[in-house]
Symmetry: C2
Subunit: 292 residues, 2 copies
């Protein structure tokens, strides 16, 4: 069994690492704050003092970090992974970050004969705990196949999309579609409500036709119930749309509606709603339209 290093033990990373321990993998962990490290050490993981030390003791190093700068620092910075590698090691970044940074890290590690996969996930904390995440993977087929037994512990819907960066691009696409569809459902159901038409009847009628979506089904119900506890937090979705927009700018592709929805998320965060579920875009619309 491969020795796995796991860096980043947050809301997502900790239950993922725990699932690997429970599957019998030897695990070396590292995290900025020590609470989660001690917790997992009590369940059989070894603690390492730096990403470099994690790499020195691992065959496969997984990162699950908040954003692009953290991945860049952990992979390529001082005492970073790159300082502890040897040829044949595999690096798997499961964070959601900018495809451009993914490609930079990929190239730097390739220079020391380390293969990389970008493997961002969807499915949230519940999916992380249950080992039912969707995993969107970019990188070489050989590396993908090597990582597959590990991915199968962590997730269910595992798709090899294409070359390096393809996983991150797919995640960005996913977050665009989810964010904009929530806004679509919010505008429709608020229009119904303000018109004196029962939004629950509208939701049901629309689910039977071309307007059908999982967002209308799930987040439409949240909007009808004003059930805005997370779920997926607005501030995290804004971060993901920031990645999509930066990628669009790099390609001179004007993502008009993505930009608008990101700004609406900005407004919601400015009003103190950053820790609400992303379906709270409907709450913002309600307030913009004079509601309480």
């Amino acid at each position: 069994m491969e020795r796995i290093g796991f860096i980043g033990l947050g809301i997502m990373g900790k239950p993922m690492a725990r699932n690997l321990i429970n599957a019998g993998y030897p695990l070396v962990v590292h995290n900025r704050s020590q609470g989660a490290v001690k917790e997992l050490a009590g369940e059989g993981a070894m603690a390492a003092g730096s990403p470099k030390e994690v790499a020195e003791q691992s065959d496969v190093v997984i990162t699950m970090l908040p954003d692009s700068p953290e991945v860049h620092q952990v992979a390529l910075g001082t005492k970073g992974i790159v300082e502890g590698t040897r040829p044949g090691m595999l690096f798997v970044d499961m964070s959601t970050i900018a495809p451009a940074v993914t490609r930079e890290v990929y190239a730097a590690l390739k220079a020391v004969e380390v293969q990389s996969l970008d493997a961002p996930v969807s499915g949230g904390e519940v999916g992380a705990k249950q080992g039912s995440l969707s995993i969107m993977v970019g990188g070489e087929t050989e590396a993908f196949e090597r990582a597959m037994p590990i991915f199968k512990i962590l997730g269910k819907n595992i798709v090899h999309i294409g070359d390096v960066g393809a996983g991150q691009v797919t995640k960005a696409c996913n977050q665009i579609v989810v964010g904009l569809t929530i806004q679509a459902v919010a505008e429709a159901l608020m229009l119904a409500k303000r018109s004196g038409v029962d939004p629950a009847r509208v939701r049901e009628a629309l689910l039977g036709g071309f307007a059908q979506s999982r967002i209308l089904e799930l987040h439409g119900q949240r909007i009808i119930d004003s059930a805005f506890e997370p779920g997926f937090r607005i501030r995290l979705h804004r971060k993901d749309l920031g990645i999509a927009l930066q990628t669009g700018r790099d390609l001179s592709l004007p993502l008009m509606s993505t930009a608008q929805v990101a700004e609406l998320m900005n407004a919601l965060i400015a009003r103190g709603g950053g820790d609400l579920d992303h379906s709270a875009l409907a709450l913002l619309l309600d307030q913009m339209g004079g509601g309480e």
Copy 2:
């Protein structure tokens, strides 16, 4: 069997009227241009010279017209339906128009003891021909039940949403969700394509998760294939979003993304794309981003 009057024999109205003839209903028809009138007269319909004359010879009068001004004129104008009614007649408007105009016509006809239903449809020309339209109905329950045998000839998914105008509001909601979801899918799949990632792989991966929608399934495939022949024409969808936006303005509800997508449709129409399918929002994005 009730005698039916049918006004508006366009792409949608003509096959709908034909289905009623084939079901055995006595039909009186009226249309501005005479081609469709003569055609249906050859199949057993009677021709009438004005909406007033249609009303005089009918128990139920159905309209299927392009927009709000036409419905207002045909219902309440000179030689309009209102001049030919008697108490107990039923008026069913199946056009897609502004809920405010629906309510005005409803009130004027109620004053002469005529009940009204708003019953806009989705499903397009194919649905009209096959009698498989979705019908979203507003108005009194008694009137809805009276019209039900007729609706069953014309459609499949028939839902009584609520009081007068509720059908039109639901249709507006439907067009918001469909239009904005197409833009969402267009931005996502174009970002994938420009990033060098296969949009077909992205579509498949996204269909397995929260980003799933019928639009991603059907229009996502159209976008991948650049198959922009209609389908549902951009210029008709812009008209429908205009109704949604006017309704939002009447309620002081700021429909931010609906407004943006309507303007993108404007741009596409300005470039000569008004008769393309609404999935051609992706073509506009491609062109805005420097594509051919």
